[in-house]
Structures are given as structure tokens and as C-alpha cells.
Symmetry: C2
Subunit: 749 residues, 2 copies
């Protein structure tokens, strides 16, 4: 109840603040970056450009003050730099993840203050008000200091503009305060207006091994009256404590010309002003070097021209968002374009403006003419984000595929959960294979598929020391992963299902590449899921090496994210129908379409459907296989769409998972959905708009425009005037261009 009340408050605030009234609104004008900033959506309202590495987000998760900051970052497994309910603002962080489930980044915090200089964020933090956020722009009033702050971004840099009142004003850079659980930074003042340094990141999802620095260059528009670097000093003891000038407090080093290192350090610049004045601060970042951070900054934001950068950021969003034009209600447009916006944040550009990028798994630097991407949360995104990118932005998806193949060349394996050049190995399965095969089969073929194929086959067949499929030996010999050696976050059934899916996608790719033996082999492997089907319970049930079912067995266990043997992030119900390539087999085993529909109904009725996590998000579409068919599927999709996805800050049902929840919404509002990776087709339900017009990329696709119409008069689905047979339409058909007419669902049914 308490939680709901806060959400309700937030709704009003977001609605009031985020949407300027415009006569002629562009797609970017519909984006509401506050959506997803409550209810654990883990998006942030900060300024960013599509697939930008840098972003500039308000940071308000430090320090748990009752009433003021109810959610303290360390009180939970908190993956958010910004929580809409929180009121205690401590600056703008310049490297942020969007919609992830683990704490990381949230570093390079920049705070404007005034009055006596304070360098302790618990002191210098402030409430903020009048927040406004749009695509590429965020601004707020910082109450304690009467400062108006605006921030915008490019791909690798951010610029902030602070409007100060007369008096003594400060810019504080804090390299201690962060969301990441790693520590350590370096800072150096290189001129009256420039500071450079690095901040260590890492331990994503509490994996202690994945650690690396991000480099930055900060430049000020105006030379300060005083500036320097600072460091939190330790608590000295004994006689030392009497003598040291700074004990257990922040020490300042004015005009310090050397690099300063420490766990909790930063910089500051002070201005004494007789009148109100504006100071702008540019920060460029790089994962390669300080020199590259400076190049990124100076090329992307050459001058302290805030408005120009802001306009460019908005234009960058319109350039991508306008590929899809929708006709419908404003609130639906807000939901749709914000969802599309959220799918276009990660993967992020990793390479510097000169093409340099960090080679995976080591300290070396590579250089390439195509952009290198990072932040591949593939267990999530292989399902629908990459299919969405493949349809709408095949050029971008091609670059992401090439990045993934390059990573595989460097490390030997395609990525699974790649973060800033590190394979974090978070979650299970082999989703790189799924992503790669699916995209290639959709027609994005300007990649070195032979190299990729070898990596995929390695992952599918190497029994021992298999980085991507640590359970390959058992899987290959038994046809499933037994629960015998299962760790608390392994999930033997979940892992098996992911392997089946990857093998299915790989078999389709093998067929496409004219490798019939491989195709048959992997297709057979993919069908082994039946070994886990338990006729007694109708569930995909954990089995041990001897072939015995896990017993006792509670299919509901895991519903609330408690550990459940066999399943990761879910329970047996959530994973029950998760064999998209084997639905006909599963349906038969469950007693045919009607019996299957009853079980589907039961899933929803017993609250065993989780809209907030990936394994079961396709389930409303599964009515397409049942007597309920198109109408039931359409109505279920629409109900979930409207219940879970709103224009409120809590308008994403949980972690956006680097756009996966949003991609579900975007596809679902367009009335098409990729149900089975490796099968380049879309399930169809009634769209949320009367008309959706997609501009197809003519480099990849023969058609120019694909229009999807919701027709209240139509009785069946047609494409370019011809009836479509079945519930699915091939990707290869749609990319020819034309008009897909989908009836409005009969809500009476």
C-alpha cells in the first residue's frame, strides 16, 4: 500500500512535468523518459542519444533519509541511479545503464552547489523540483541552492548548464559516489578549466572479476576563481589524529598539478559572482584512454553551445523514432515512442570517435571503422530487442552483429552478457547464438557468418570448458541438464530450455548455410526438450542424471523470485510453455489445443504469469495456437499492454532489461511479435493503433514502406490485399513492403 501511494504521487508529477504542449509534435516529443523510473523499471530520465555510451542522469539514490529518500541504493539489490520517488539529489552521473537488474556504473557525478563549499554528498545534496525530461534533455531546479540545471548528451559526452544565483558557487565532481560497487579513481587538473581522470567500474551482478576503468575529461566554460582536487582522508588514530590537519574528512588540494588517486576523490571549481551567471560543464568519456575521452569530447561537443547539442540530441532521436509513424491517441503514442526509445539505448556505442575500442578480456586496444558496441544483455534482448532492431534498424543490428563476432574473435566465444568489454556471464543459455542466427535469417547477412557459425558450433558442441554452456557435457550426453550439480542460480530446466532454443536457431542457420548434417543434428538436439516433459504434472520438470524427476516438486515455487530448483528467475509455470520452436509437440503432449488453452488460462488465473520477466512474456500470444485464436490472443495482449504499460513513472512492469520489456510493448502495439527466435516470422494480434507506417531500410530490404492497419471492418488478416493463412506472417514477406491489415479484435468474444 505504501508503495502504491508513492506511485500515485509520482504519476501526477510525471504527467505535469514531462510533456511540453507542442502544436506539431515530432516522435521525440512523445518520449517521456520518466516512464520506467519507478516500480523497478530501472530506466533513468537523463539525457542520452540513441545507443549513446554516455548519458547524463540525475542521481538520487544515495543516502536513505526518511520522507526524503525512501529507497537507499545499498538497502536493496538496487540497479537504479534514479528513483522517481526519491527527493535527495546529489548530482548528475555520466555513465549509466538503462533497465538493468544489477548495480553498476552511475559514476562521474557532477553537482552544482553554492555557499560554503561542501564536498560531502550527504551534506551538499539537495531536493530538486520542476523536473522536466525529454528525448536528449533533462532539467530541474536544485532547491537548496536556487540553481537551474539542464543537461544534454552526445554519444560519448555530456554537457550541463547551471544557472547560478549571485554569490559563491561551485561545481563539484565526485568520483567516489556511484552506483557501482567497485571503488577507486584518479583525477588530475590539467588546466584552469580542465580535469581528467578515470573511475573503476565493475562487479556487475556481484561478479567480482569483471572490473575495468572508464576514462573522462571534464572542461569548464569559465575559468574558476579557485579550483582543485579533493580526497576523503581516513580516520587517523592515536597521536596522529591530533596532528593531521584533516582527519576522517575531505581534504582539498587546490591547484594540485599531479594525478591524485584514492577510493573517494573528486574535483571542485568555485566562482565568486556578483550577479546571476551560467557555467557550462562538458564531460567526455572513453573506455580506451584520457586522450580519447578528450577527442570524443572536443569532436562531439566542440563549443559550450548547450542549445546546439540539445537540438542535435533531439534530432538524433527523431532520426530513429520517425522510422515508425503511428496514428492514434496521444497517450498511446507516448507509450509507443517511449518504448521504442527504451529499446534504442543498449547496446551502446563502445568505440571512440577515432574508432579505438578495448579488446574483449584484456587491456589491449583495437581500431575499426564500424562502430563497436557494448552492453549485450542477450538472455533478455535476443528475444525481441534484436528482432525489433532487425526489422526497423537493420544497419544498426548489422553493426551489433559484427561487434559480437569481433568479440568472439577476441575471446573465442560470442557474448552472453557483455558489459564494457567484459563477459559477465550473467544468466544462462547461449543467447548470442540465438541473436546471431535469428538476425541472419531475417536477412542481415553483411557479416562474417562463417566465423560466427564456427563460434556457435563450438558453443553447441564443446563438452568441456564451455564458457557459454557450462553444462554442455551433461546436455550433450543426456539431452538435458540434470539438476544434480545445480547451483542456486543455475536452473537446470531453464538452462536446458535455453540450449534447446539456441540449438533450434542454430539448426535453422545451418540449413540456410547449406550444412544439412549440422542442421539435422542441432534440430534433433532442440527436440530433446520432451525428455523434461513430465506427463504427470504437465510441467517441464527437473530431472537428475539417473533420469529421476525432482521430488517433491512444487510448480509454484519460485513465483516470488525465491530460489526454485530447476528454474532461474521464475517457477515451473513461468517456464511451462517455453519451447517456442516446439509448441506443436508440447500442445499435443498437453492434450491438444483445447486442453492447452485451458492450461494457458490457468496460468493467468493462478497468477503464474509474470509480465515482468522474460521466460513467459510470449504466453498471451500462445492463444494463437488454441481455439481462442486471434481474438483471445489480441484481447489478452491488449489487456496486458494496458495494465502493465502506462505513461506513469511506474509504467514498465519491472526491470526494462535493456529494452526487452519495452520491445514487448512496441511489437505488441504494432500487432506483430517474433515468437520463436530462428523462425523469422511474426505472430499477429490486433494493433494498438489505427495505422503504423514503418520506413524500411532499402539497403537491407526490398520494400520501402510497411504499413500495418487496424481495420475495424476487416474480418481477416490480409497483406497487400491477399489473405494471410494462419496466425503468423513471414519476415521475408513484410520486408517486401506494403500494407498489412489486421482486424480489430472482437472484444465480445
Amino acid at each position: 500500500m505504501k508503495f502504491l501511494r508513492r506511485c500515485a504521487t509520482a504519476v501526477i508529477t510525471a504527467a505535469v512535468m514531462s510533456q511540453p504542449v507542442l502544436a506539431n509534435r515530432t516522435p521525440a516529443d512523445y518520449v517521456d523518459p520518466f516512464i520506467g523510473t519507478s516500480n523497478f523499471g530501472a530506466t533513468h530520465p537523463g539525457a542520452q542519444v540513441p545507443h549513446g555510451l554516455a548519458s547524463v542522469s540525475p542521481f538520487n539514490v544515495a543516502f536513505g533519509y526518511p520522507q526524503l529518500n525512501e529507497f537507499e541504493k545499498d538497502e536493496a539489490w538496487n540497479s537504479r541511479v534514479y528513483i522517481h520517488e526519491n527527493q535527495f539529489f546529489t548530482g548528475f552521473s555520466h555513465l549509466n545503464l538503462s533497465g538493468v537488474g544489477c548495480p553498476e556504473a552511475g559514476v562521474i557525478n557532477l553537482m552544482p552547489t553554492s555557499g560554503d563549499l561542501s564536498l560531502a554528498p550527504e551534506e551538499y545534496g539537495s531536493t530538486f523540483s520542476d523536473q522536466q525530461a525529454s528525448a536528449g534533455l533533462y532539467n530541474a531546479h536544485i532547491d537548496k541552492y536556487d540553481i537551474d540545471a539542464e543537461v544534454t548528451s552526445t554519444a560519448r559526452a555530456g554537457i550541463s548548464r547551471f544557472r547560478f544565483s549571485p554569490g559563491r558557487n561551485h561545481i563539484v565532481l565526485n568520483l567516489g559516489l556511484a552506483l557501482t560497487n567497485e571503488t577507486g579513481a584518479s583525477i588530475r587538473q590539467t588546466s584552469p578549466t580542465e580535469f581528467v581522470g578515470s573511475r573503476t567500474l565493475g562487479t556487475f551482478c556481484y561478479n567480482p572479476e569483471d572490473v575495468r576503468p572508464v576514462y573522462f575529461v571534464m572542461q569548464l566554460s569559465d575559468a574558476p576563481d579557485q579550483a582543485g582536487v579533493w580526497k576523503q582522508m581516513p580516520a587517523y588514530k592515536n597521536v596522529e589524529a591530533d596532528w593531521v590537519a584533516v582527519n576522517d574528512d575531505v581534504k582539498t588540494y587546490p591547484d594540485y598539478p599531479y594525478p591524485l588517486h584514492g577510493d573517494n576523490i573528486g574535483a571542485w571549481a568555485s566562482y565568486n559572482a556578483d550577479s546571476a551567471h551560467t557555467v557550462s560543464v562538458k564531460i567526455g568519456i572513453s573506455f580506451v584512454s584520457i586522450a580519447n575521452a578528450r577527442k570524443n569530447l572536443e569532436q562531439e561537443i566542440p563549443a559550450f553551445d548547450f542549445n546546439s547539442t540539445r537540438r542535435q540530441a533531439k534530432q538524433a532521436w527523431n532520426d530513429v523514432l520517425q522510422r515508425v509513424q503511428v496514428e492514434g491517441q496521444a497517450a498511446d503514442k507516448t507509450r509507443f515512442y517511449t518504448a521504442l526509445y527504451h529499446t534504442l539505448i543498449h547496446p551502446s556505442i563502445f568505440s571512440d570517435i577515432n574508432g579505438d575500442y578495448p579488446i574483449t578480456g584484456g587491456g589491449a586496444t583495437g581500431n575499426a571503422s564500424v562502430p563497436r558496441y557494448t552492453v549485450y544483455s542477450l538472455w533478455d534482448t535476443s528475444r525481441n530487442v534484436h528482432p525489433l532492431l532487425s526489422l526497423l534498424y537493420p544497419r544498426t543490428q548489422s553493426a551489433m552483429m559484427r561487434s559480437a563476432i569481433a568479440m568472439g574473435r577476441e575471446s573465442g566465444w560470442l557474448p552472453k552478457w557483455e558489459l564494457y568489454g567484459m563477459e559477465t556471464n550473467v544468466m544462462v543459455g547461449d543467447p548470442g547464438t540465438v541473436m546471431m542466427a535469428d538476425s541472419y535469417l531475417r536477412g542481415i547477412q553483411d557479416v562474417d557468418i562463417d566465423a560466427a557459425y564456427k563460434m556457435m558450433v563450438r558453443a553447441a558442441t564443446q563438452a568441456d570448458n564451455n564458457l557459454l554452456r557450462p553444462d554442455a557435457a551433461d546436455y550433450l550426453s543426456l539431452g538435458y541438464v540434470p539438476y544434480d550439480d545445480e547451483g542456486p542460480y543455475d536452473g537446470s530446466v531453464s538452462t536446458s530450455l535455453e540450449y534447446y532454443q539456441a540449438d533450434f536457431a542454430l539448426s535453422r542457420l545451418a540449413a540456410k548455410l547449406d550444412k544439412p548434417d549440422d542442421a539435422a543434428r542441432f534440430a534433433n538436439q532442440a527436440q530433446e526438450f520432451t525428455r523434461l516433459f513430465d506427463p504427470a504434472t504437465g510441467m517441464l520438470r527437473p530431472k537428475n542424471r539417473k533420469g529421476e524427476w525432482l521430488s517433491p516438486f512444487d510448480p509454484e515455487l519460485g513465483k516470488n523470485f525465491e530460489p526454485a530448483p530447476g528454474y532461474i528467475e521464475g517457477n515451473a509455470w513461468n517456464y511451462r510453455f517455453y519451447v517456442p520452436h516446439g509448441m506443436q509437440t508440447l500442445i499435443e503432449k498437453l492434450g491438444g489445443p483445447a486442453a492447452f488453452e485451458a492450461q494457458l488460462d490457468k496460468t493467468f488465473a493462478t497468477d503464474n504469469f509474470d509480465m515482468a520477466n522474460e521466460p513467459d512474456i510470449t504466453y498471451p500470444y500462445l492463444y494463437l495456437y488454441t481455439p481462442g485464436g486471434f481474438n483471445k490472443a489480441s484481447n489478452k495482449v491488449a489487456a496486458l499492454r494496458d495494465h502493465h504499460f502506462t505513461t506513469e513513472p511506474g509504467g514498465i512492469p519491472g526491470n526494462d532489461d535493456t529494452g526487452t520489456m519495452s520491445a514487448w510493448l512496441a511489437f505488441s502495439m504494432m500487432g506483430i511479435y517474433p515468437l520463436s527466435p530462428g523462425e523469422p516470422s511474426y505472430a499477429m494480434v490486433s494493433p494498438a493503433f489505427d495505422r503504423i507506417t514503418i520506413s524500411l531500410d532499402d539497403t537491407y530490404y526490398p520494400g520501402e514502406t510497411l504499413t500495418i492497419r487496424r481495420d475495424t471492418e476487416a474480418s481477416r488478416i490480409t497483406f497487400n490485399g491477399r489473405p494471410v493463412t494462419g496466425a503468423f506472417i513471414a519476415h521475408q514477406q513484410l520486408i517486401q513492403g506494403g500494407t498489412l491489415v489486421i482486424p480489430a479484435a472482437d472484444t465480445q468474444e
Copy 2:
């Protein structure tokens, strides 16, 4: 009592350990580096070369364990990396100061261990035994791990050789543990056998402003089986504490290829060995850059040839020590050569092997062909260390003068207490002027004296914003520094006395440079000390701006280093006769030679003489002005020499003050002493040796050899056969070479 017992224990240990029995002992063989390592001498037994920047010293002052480590570094104002009584060894530090009074440096700690890897020094520390130290070499047995450790050094690098037993052995580099009160470091593994980084130093004498990094490169002789960097992680709270892999403990980063920063970080390398094996570790340092540290290391210690470096270090010591040959008892030779050794440690070479050095007071780098020196503790060393260097090593003294002038060009002021390129402004007065004028007048004139003279005049005449003489305005207008605005460590009388002395030296230099007006002006200023002579007490007494004496006035206050208005590090008695250029005037004011002698006697009788601090250390020589004359002076000097300076670890009466106490002993054992800076002459007393033979530097001095003979038969002092009139002999005479015969003092008198 407790303290004395410990000293007694230490005596035995030092005597047993430090002196190998050699048939033909060179001067270096007489050096006992344990002398001064107890009784707050603050020297260390580590390996070093003359004026070397680097040294490799055992570090045993961390963690106060009863019985084991009685002296914990933070329990007192502790300036020592090594205390002879302490038993808990935590590694070898590679940048150390010798004989200073404030904590600083003691960084880059290298520890060999074995068994399970521990990176917490309170755990991995060990007792040590079989310590041996000689000039350029230290070795010990590390008990806990059965490791034999030997270390030696060059000017800018150290090499350690560790003999491990079979098993799992480790090299641990700790950049957290240090004597300095600054924090913060950087480390990066650059190859299987190389680590580079930096460590922040500073806050010498608790001055928070003087901070800077030292850079280093560490190379291992053998590729380890496992290696990486490490960092102390903070104490996480709340839910984070449950999840982070390392909470409030050390985290390891194996094979981490990036720079790692933090308050408490380091590196380690592990070896798995089936048999006993040796690993050598080289560490080069630089105050300019990591690249220069590598150049220093690779040029000074090109191979892992420990024995070659050790031989070079000893040879370097013999090259300088053999300039003085003494004939006498072995224990006296030990006292003398160890004293000479201690005078040849600071100032230290600051420039890198390629000539690069940090420009004073900023982050810029200069380059010069002559070595740049650092560590100028001039309030101490201007008295006797630089006169000693001027006599024995004029080439070195010339380079030190040129370094000081170069610092003046960079900062505008000659140094006062310059440390690693920073003017720390510790202590009072204008001792740079004293050192410069005195050395020039002794004949070291291959320096830009015109430039130096301008700096000296600036310090002597600039009323406001005078860095060296902050009390110049009052001093110039009143003729003394009044006590009105005195801070707790200013000492208005002490400061005035230092200014008079500097003005006297400057007046003599002005005369030498043919500037009669300046000479007269500064000579007059130097005589103003009479304004502070209080006929009522016979003391040099604090006076305020109105000309009123401080009242009440206790001339004994300050005896135990408690704050005493008017005096710094002493009381009125200690400063009573501290006008070496004005002794005749003072003696008259005190009632003539006999009355003066009575007051001198009273000084010693009432325990108001302090052998352990500089202001009064010339007082035994002042009997030369009294009826007691040569015999009384000689006997007093001999008594102090033998009482306070021994071959024991406690054999220096207090802080060696970068060689000043030791220079007192060296001069006093040679029977000559420079009483008054600016007057290039020596007071003479009976030497401690039968014969002292000094090889004069023929570049600077006309003579080849100066011999000083103690002649039990002689009744008066002669030089080259001619009687010497008075108690003093001119430097210009001695450097002509020849034989100075000094009678043995009549101990009956």
C-alpha cells in the same frame, strides 16, 4: 626504565650482527647502519648509496603489539620507518628519509611471504632475526616464512633477493602501508614480471599542502605462476553487504590489465616451487614519471645481478668515505665512519638518470646536466653538514648549491626545508642564505652567485609576503621579531637569532662580492641582536612591539619541548649564546670571559644544554672564548662525544636531523668545528684520532692532503710547523694542505 632496558637489549643485538670480521677493513666496513635506529635517531638500517634517492629499509613500525612492537607509528609523532626495538616486520620500503623529525615517505613496501596468500600486513607481518646491515646492504631472516632476505640499492633503485623454501611463495607489494600520512596510489601490471604505479606522499610535519606522487616500476626476476593487483574494499552496508564478494577485506584482481587506484592497494606475485628457490625484485623510482622510473631502473640495475649491485653500493660508499682516513680504535672508526655515512645521505639526488627533474612548486619537468638534489633540511644542515660537505666534497656541495639556486629561479626563493620539490617551510629563519654564503666564502664559487645573491637580498629586505622571513616587516623596522603575533611554533627570539645569523653571512658575502653598502647594512642588521639582550636575566628575551620584555619570564620553560613563548624547540638557556657572529659583544654584555664561562658552566650543570637539538650544539666549543680555553673545550667536546655518540643503536642523541648530529660528531672527532656560518674558519679542539688524513678535491682546493694529528707531546697548535694564533684556523689555510697538529687535551685541567 622500560625504555633503557630495551636499549640495552638492542645494544647486544647490534654489536653481534652488524660488523663482519674482516682482515683488511675499508672505511665502508666500519659503517654500522644500526646506529641511530633507536633513541629517536630516526636513521634506518636499510641499503642506500651516498645521496641516493631510493633506499631499501626494513619497515617495522606498523601495528602496536605488546612485547612485539612497542612503538606503533601512529602512537607518536613518529618519523621512523624502522625502530630497533620493534620486532614485527612488514616489508621493505623503497623511499625513506633518514634522521628527520616528521613522518613522511616509507612507501612502496615489498614483503616476501609464503603459504596461504595474505594481503593484510597485520596478518602477513613476521618477526625477523639475524639482521645484518652494512653500507649498501641489509639482510635478515624472516622467521614466519623461513625466508632469507637481502636488499641493496643504487641511487634511484633497489633490488631485493629472497631465498624461499619449497612451497607456495609470494611477493607482496603494498602501496597502502606507509609512514607518510598521505594516502592514495595507482598500480598497473604491464607484463608477467612488471608492475608500475605511483604513491602519493606528503603532509610532512603535518603541513597538509605539500603533496605529490612518487612513481615506480617493479620488475621480477622470474615469471610468477599467478599475479595481479589488489585493493582493500570498503565496509558495505545493508543488503549490499550480503551480496558483495569482498566486504571490508582485500580483493584480488588477477591479471588485471588496467590501472587500479585506491587508498590501500598493491600487487602480488605467487610462485609454486618444489624446491628452495630465489626470486629477485627490482624497484626503480622517479619523481617525474613511470617511464623515467623504468629508465632509472634499467640503467642502474640492468640485470638481476644482486651481488654486482651490492658491490657497487659498497664501492660508492668507499669512494666517498675514503676521502678521510683515520687512525685510532675500531670503535671510534665505527663512530666516525657511521657519522660520515649519515651526513652523506641527504640532500638526495632528485633528478632522473636522463636529467629530468620536477620543477619546484608545480607539475612541470625540467632537465639539466648537473644532478638536481632534494631534501634540504637547512635549519639543521646549514650549521655543519654543508660546511662538512664544503670541506670534504666541494663538488657535491657545488651541485647542491646549484640545485638550490635553480629552485630559487623557479620559486623566487632559496629553499628552507625543501622536500621532493616542495618547500615545506618547516622551522624558522633563512638558512638557505646561510648555506649559500658560507659555502661560497669557503671557496665553492662555480655557481651563479649573482642570481643567488639577488634571492638572498630579497629574503633579507622584502618586508611583506616574504616566504622565507614571514616576520621581515617587524624585523626590518624594529631590529627584532616581537612576540606580539607569535604562533605556537614561531619563536620570536629564535626567529630573530636566525635572521641575524643569515644577515651576518649575507654581509660577508656582500663584502666578498664587493658590495660595501650591502655589507654594512646587513652587518648592522646582524648586530641588532643586542636589542633582545636583557641585562637583568642575562638572557636573549622575548620583547613586544612596544619594546617591553615578556613577563613573567621563565628561562627554563621549553626544556622538555613544551611550547615556550619566544623559542622554538628549546628554551632561553638553549638559545642564550646563539649569536656565533656576535660572541665578543655577548661575552662583554655577560661580564667578560670569566663571567661568561661561569654561565656556560651553569648551562651544562643545570641540564639546560641539549645535545639533541641544534641551537646550542656549538656551546662546548664556546669555552675557547673563556679562560678554560682549549683544554676545557676539548674535554667538554670529548665528554659529550663519548657520552652521546656510541656504537649502539641508540648512539645518536636524538633525531639525526639529516646528518646534523652526525656532522657534529664527525667534525668533533676531527678536532675542528665551523662555529659561525659566514666565517670560513674552524674552532679547534683535540681530535679523537691520532691522525686524520683528508684528501682534498684538487678542482676546488690547492692542497692535496690535509692531515690532522693529535700530538700528546705538542704544547700548542701548529699548521705546517707554524704556530696557530688563537682558537680558530681559517678554511683558506687548511685547504692549502699540510699538517695541522693539535695537542692532546690535558685531562687533568
